[in-house]
């Protein structure tokens, strides 16, 4: 392979737009399918109206409110993050992950690979899990975002967090925020019928410490507890 591209050049801000509506489903079972980046977008089309929501990307072409933003220009994006209204002014190429970590100071969400292969950056958008490195902040105008910082209510941990602690489902904590968010969604989606099903539907979140056996137990435990509560 010969390339004139600098090797460092495809790192930050390499953009692979996620399927906004079905991010989680689209990625979970297909970790090993090819995720190709076209490189940083020079210009992207964004929905100008506030509150247009994640669907704006898909429907942008037919939307009269659409405007084009050039490289270097910034856009104001309003998000609801962990129940709080937050506004960030970002270049269109800034990922939701970078907006959270670098603009909003929410460093709980981790950047493990920045191209959707590891899952450390998983957050909930509108209740669905997505990899926040694979979506641009501008694509999430008006969206409700939940990060690991927003799961506990005060000192009371979310049941999934409690289950992870109880089952020792992590070691270094690098993948943990992503695992937790993914687990919350996995339970919500009802993909906890068996250990094998949990393993499959949690397979988009890599753990190099390989706490998988305990993660599966934690997810199962939290799912069972949830069922009991609902009854």
């Amino acid at each position: 392979m010969r390339s004139d591209e600098p090797m460092g050049g495809f790192a930050d801000d390499a953009l692979v737009p996620a399927d906004g509506e079905h991010g989680a489903e689209a990625f979970m079972p297909t970790r090993r399918t090819v995720l190709v980046s076209a490189g940083a977008a020079a210009a992207v089309t964004v929905a100008a109206g506030k509150g247009a929501g994640g669907a704006a990307w898909a429907s942008a072409a037919g939307d009269t409110r659409v405007r084009t933003v050039g490289a270097g220009e910034s856009v104001e994006v309003a998000l609801s993050v962990n129940g709080q209204r937050r506004t960030v002014t970002v270049e269109p190429r800034v990922t939701l992950l970078d907006a959270l970590r670098e603009r909003l100071g929410l460093t709980g969400t981790k950047k493990g690979c920045d191209r959707g292969e590891c899952g450390a950056c998983t957050v909930l958008v509108g209740g669905e899990r997505i990899k926040s490195c694979l979506t641009l902040a501008v694509m999430r105008q008006g969206a409700e975002v939940t990060t690991v910082e927003g799961l506990a209510s005060g000192d009371e941990l979310h049941p999934v967090q409690e289950a992870f602690i109880r089952h020792d489902a992590f070691q270094c904590g690098g993948c943990t925020p992503g695992q937790i968010m993914s687990a919350v969604a996995c339970i919500d989606e009802g993909h906890t019928g068996s250990d094998a099903e949990i393993r499959e539907w949690m397979s988009g979140n890599l753990c190099r410490c390989a706490a998988y056996q305990n993660i599966v137990a934690a997810v199962q435990d939290a799912a069972d507890a949830g069922k009991k509560v609902r009854r």
């Binding site: 010969r2 090797m7 930050d12 090993r32 292969e117 690098g174 390989a210 305990n214």
Partner: protein, 813 residues
């Protein structure tokens, strides 16, 4: 009441670390920001071997937000800075200078060529594309045997050779055993095999990162490192910074697995740039950079010869290794294969042993420690050979092992490689594992499947391993020319309110030291678990240490904590006697209380700590403090062991391997926290299994890493691994007061040969006696179709994915 009646050591305590990790309050280096912080981005070579004709940085310097662009000539005009290698394994070792940035020549694809400093990380990254580098190609040296061939082009012309060093051990010469050549010549059976340890990537979840603040009183560096103390000393030596003017902090570190035992060019670069600009700087790598520029692991060719009698008695073992160093020497890189030198004889009584390793330079990413470091390679070699010998002899492979292993009543046992194993019970661990596994039942099923010609065949793989850990007795390291000792430091501060701060030189990155050390101290001092805080990873609070690697934290650092606690008690005793107006000899200390023997009169250590703080009424000459520190140098390594059994189903039509069950019974000595031990075993197993089945760093013929993403380099996911059945036997170490042995690497060391043995066992009747790792469906299928010779040959792929499309050669050869 300050006593704890139930012992803390042995309890499955939930981890103290969990609360912050689970809520997103993890303090990674990349999370830190400082006023005026600027960002570094490194331009990396696209060429594996080339002269740098010119570097034009003028356009990059005009890019928005860019403050500066530096090359090696800017940062080190004299070319005098070289990254340190702390393990010169032989006096005549060939050692190239590893510059901070490539100077005149690049030696692997991924080596830094220039660094951009900009106001934001994105602007720094953007500017990289505007740097114009003109290269003049040099011949790319790839593959161990190619590199050693007569007339081969050289990675480093000035060294005159691609041979880094040759290191030998011979039991005949050492007087620890016989002459292996004679053993081979006289043997009734000789089996020879060549195995390849493919190249692996540690692939910790947190990419490497460092922040340097030159505006603080001490030059302060935060780094995602396993070795803050070593980094501090080495950085000071490398740059001539007075050591006391440098402070290194390893905050929460997101995994290491050996991959963060390093002094990075980027760390040195960040120090240089921060001092040059007088501004705080941050460097955080992308995953692509981790894959190409962070050190890799393994990468050996092993030529093994085992000699035996027909009855299965092993009479000799000869090991000849070629080990790929990559383009430069890492911090301990040359010594990694040497750590295996003492372990090929493993748990067996082998009367004659010869080991020789040739370290080789190639135009690839450098290699260094990765979980197990030298010992997984050795364990793989011997455990595969035991299976091959068993097949040759027509013996059950477990029976063969049992015939040769050290019996429990033969400890302490001095091996042919001169180590003295203090304790172990291979029979007990094996018996338990065989029960849990249903060995006989699975053998029966295997026979049935063979008889009926089932398309899915079943194989059983065994690995009865030991490892040397608790690195290490300083005198042994000295005899191996290692550049430091192997002690560890701990300090205990008794606070006025009775709370306890424990300072440790072992810097954790996921292993749960804060919890385990608290348990140890709670028992030693008899204070509540929650009254103990563990401080680590900051050279300002923890000034002394040798850090975390080689399963050494508990067996060395944990014992230092015990020794420090003993000193606290010794200091407290005269004061307690003074307080209760009795003789010291009348006092006994238990559960946190000094009691006057034969009375109910007692005082708690926390009350004594308060009295020491007040200092109003101390015994004559006593300093008003109970604080104590200890440096512990182990007298021996520790030798955990275990029996791992793997049942693998192989689909003979597709080559797909399915791990049906995996049972391991480990003996890691006494256990401080079974929860943590279990987690370490799981993680270790996964990484060892991943070497067997999934992972491989592959370079194409130009020296480009083609498995440079997680779509190509296959870390196992939850769906790729079975649930493990784990159990333990407990044979305490006799060389340390806790009886502990270490557990961090056990699973990784043991599991790789268990899996490969299982797969080969499943298809041995089809004429297969080896398959190169990773055992991808394609390799297994080819092995079944064509027999051993073609397995893993041309067409060997990296398990699918992006890069392998470009890979015509395959394999790091």
């Amino acid at each position: 009441m300050t006593s704890t009646l139930e012992p803390e050591v042995g309890r499955a305590r939930l981890r103290k670390e969990d609360a912050r990790l689970i809520t997103g309050r993890t303090r990674w280096t990349d999370n830190f920001t400082l006023p005026g912080l600027v960002h570094l981005a490194v331009l990396r070579s696209t060429e594996a071997h080339a002269k740098i004709v010119s570097i034009d940085t003028s356009a990059a310097k005009e890019m928005p937000g860019v403050l500066a662009v530096y090359t090696a000539d800017d940062l080190d005009p004299e070319g005098s800075i070289g990254m340190p290698c702390a393990w010169p394994i032989t006096p005549d070792m060939a050692s190239p200078r590893r510059p901070v940035l490539a100077q005149g020549e690049v030696n692997f694809a991924g080596e830094g060529v220039a660094v951009v400093v900009a106001r934001s990380a994105a602007e720094a990254e953007d500017a990289l594309a505007s740097i114009d580098v003109e290269y003049e190609d040099l011949p790319v040296v790839l593959g161990l045997e190619n590199a050693l061939a007569e007339g081969a082009p050289l990675v480093h012309e000035d060294l005159g050779t691609n041979r880094n060093a040759v290191w030998k051990f011979d039991s005949g010469e050492a007087g620890s055993g016989g002459d292996v050549e004679q053993a081979i010549a006289e043997a009734e059976v000789v089996v020879k095999r060549r195995f390849r340890q493919q190249r692996l990537v540690p692939a910790f979840m947190e990419p490497r990162s460092c922040v340097v603040d030159p505006t603080a009183a001490q030059l302060t560096m935060w780094s995602a490192t396993q070795v803050p103390h070593i980094l501090k000393t080495m950085a000071a030596l490398t740059l001539g910074i007075p050591e006391h003017k440098l402070r290194v902090i390893a905050p929460d570190v997101g995994g290491g697995f050996g991959g963060k035992i390093a002094v990075l060019p980027e760390e040195i670069m960040a120090l240089l740039v921060a001092r040059k600009l007088g501004k705080p700087v941050k460097w955080t790598e992308s995953r692509s950079e981790t894959m190409v520029a962070a050190h890799h692991g393994r990468d050996q060719i092993q030529d093994l010869t085992i000699a035996a009698r027909r009855d299965g008695t092993v009479t000799g073992l000869k090991v000849e290794l070629l080990a790929d160093m990559g383009a430069y020497l890492g911090l301990v890189g040359p010594g990694v294969p040497i750590l295996g030198a003492f372990m090929f004889n493993a748990i067996y009584k082998i009367p004659a042993y010869h080991f020789a390793c040739t370290n080789v330079f190639t135009n690839t990413t450098l290699t260094d420690a990765y979980r197990g470091a030298g010992r997984p390679e050795a364990t793989f070699g011997i455990e595969r050979m035991m299976d091959e010998l068993a097949a040759e002899l027509g013996m059950d492979p477990m029976e063969l092992r049992e015939k040769n292993w050290i019996k429990h009543d033969e400890f302490p046992y001095t091996t042919v490689s001169t180590l003295t194993y203090d304790s172990g019970n291979y029979e007990a661990a094996t018996e338990r594992a065989m029960q849990l596994f249903d060995y006989e039942g699975l053998r029966r099923e295997q026979r049935e499947r063979r008889e009926r010609g089932d398309t899915v065949q079943l194989g059983i793989g065994i690995s009865t391993f030991t490892e040397m850990c608790g690195l290490a007795p300083s005198r042994v390291l000295g005899s191996l020319d290692y550049g430091a000792g192997g002690w560890e430091h701990a300090a205990i501060r008794m606070l006025p309110t009775g709370k306890v701060e424990v300072v440790t030189g072992s810097s954790a990155h996921g292993q749960g030291h804060e919890t385990a050390w608290s348990q140890i101290v709670a028992d030693q001092l008899g204070v509540p678990f929650d009254d103990v805080e563990v401080l680590h990873g900051d050279t300002q609070s923890s000034h002394k240490g040798l850090d975390t690697y080689g399963s050494r934290s508990l067996a060395v650092g944990g014992i230092a904590v015990v020794k420090a606690a003993e000193k606290v008690i010794a200091k407290a005793k005269p004061l307690a006697a003074h307080m209760m107006e009795c003789a010291e000899d009348d006092l006994e200390f238990a559960n946190g209380r000094f009691t006057v023997r034969g009375t109910d009169k007692s005082t708690g250590i926390q009350d004594v700590a308060f009295a020491a703080f007040m200092a109003h009424d101390l015994p004559e000459g006593m300093e008003p403090s109970l604080d104590s520190e200890a440096v512990y140098d182990p007298e021996n390594f520790s030798f955990p062991h275990g029996t791992h059994l793997c049942a693998a189903e192989v689909d003979t039509e597709t080559g797909r391997v399915h791990l049906r069950s995996y049972v391991c019974v480990d003996d890691v000595g006494a256990v401080v926290n079974p929860l943590i031990v279990e987690g370490q075993i799981h993680g270790g197993l996964a990484q060892g299994i991943a070497q067997a089945l999934y992972e491989e760093a592959v370079f194409d013929e130009f020296g480009t890493l083609t498995s440079g993403t997680f779509a190509d380099y296959l870390l196992p996911s939850a769906a790729d691994l079975p649930s493990f059945t784990t159990d333990r036997t407990e044979t305490r170490s006799t060389t340390n007061p806790l009886g502990v042995k270490g557990v961090g690497e056990a699973g990784t060391i043991a599991s790789t040969p268990a899996v490969v043995n299982a797969v080969v066992d499943a298809v041995r009747h089809l004429g297969v006696d080896d398959i190169e790792m990773p055992l991808t469906p394609m390799r297994v299928w080819q092995a079944i179709r064509t027999g051993r010779s073609a397995a893993g040959g041309p067409g060997a792929e990296a398990g699918g994915g992006l890069g392998s499309i470009d890979s015509t050669q395959g394999g790091a050869r």
